[in-house]
Symmetry: C2
Subunit: 78 residues, 2 copies
């Protein structure tokens, strides 16, 4: 099973994209893990290491896709 | 069947995202139409009407998702 991690921060833009990710991704191929970085600040470092610069972002098998723009990852640190 | 239209311009960023779209989207729910706006300039107007500002972009049931950034739609008109 491939891994899909969806990083978001609960913002309105994030929620619209989360809906898309949840609906459209092929669940027979991908296990989707959703991470709210506002609540899970301990996972910001992991997201940054994966190349996430802003949320919402989807990491599929290690490749980052920034989808629309909600907030920079810098803004989530404060 | 839901409709997914993937607009791109053949750019390297576009190709990476196209791979993701092709692999990850649930084909049992979505029929994916791929449009190269560099070759199909006649469809730029339709993309703009859907809200596409840059490519690559994915339009799912009329909702636009700008995924990463390859080129602005303005740049494709010249």
């Amino acid at each position: 099973m491939n891994t899909a991690i969806f990083y978001h921060a609960g913002c309105p833009v994030c929620l619209g994209v989360e809906h898309m990710v949840t609906e459209a991704i092929d669940r027979s191929k991908y296990q989707v893990d959703t991470v709210h970085l506002g609540e899970r600040t301990d996972r910001i470092k992991e997201a940054e290491a994966a190349g996430v610069k802003s949320v919402p972002a989807l990491v599929l098998d290690g490749q980052v896709f920034h989808i629309n723009f909600g907030a920079s990852i810098e803004a989530l640190k404060h």
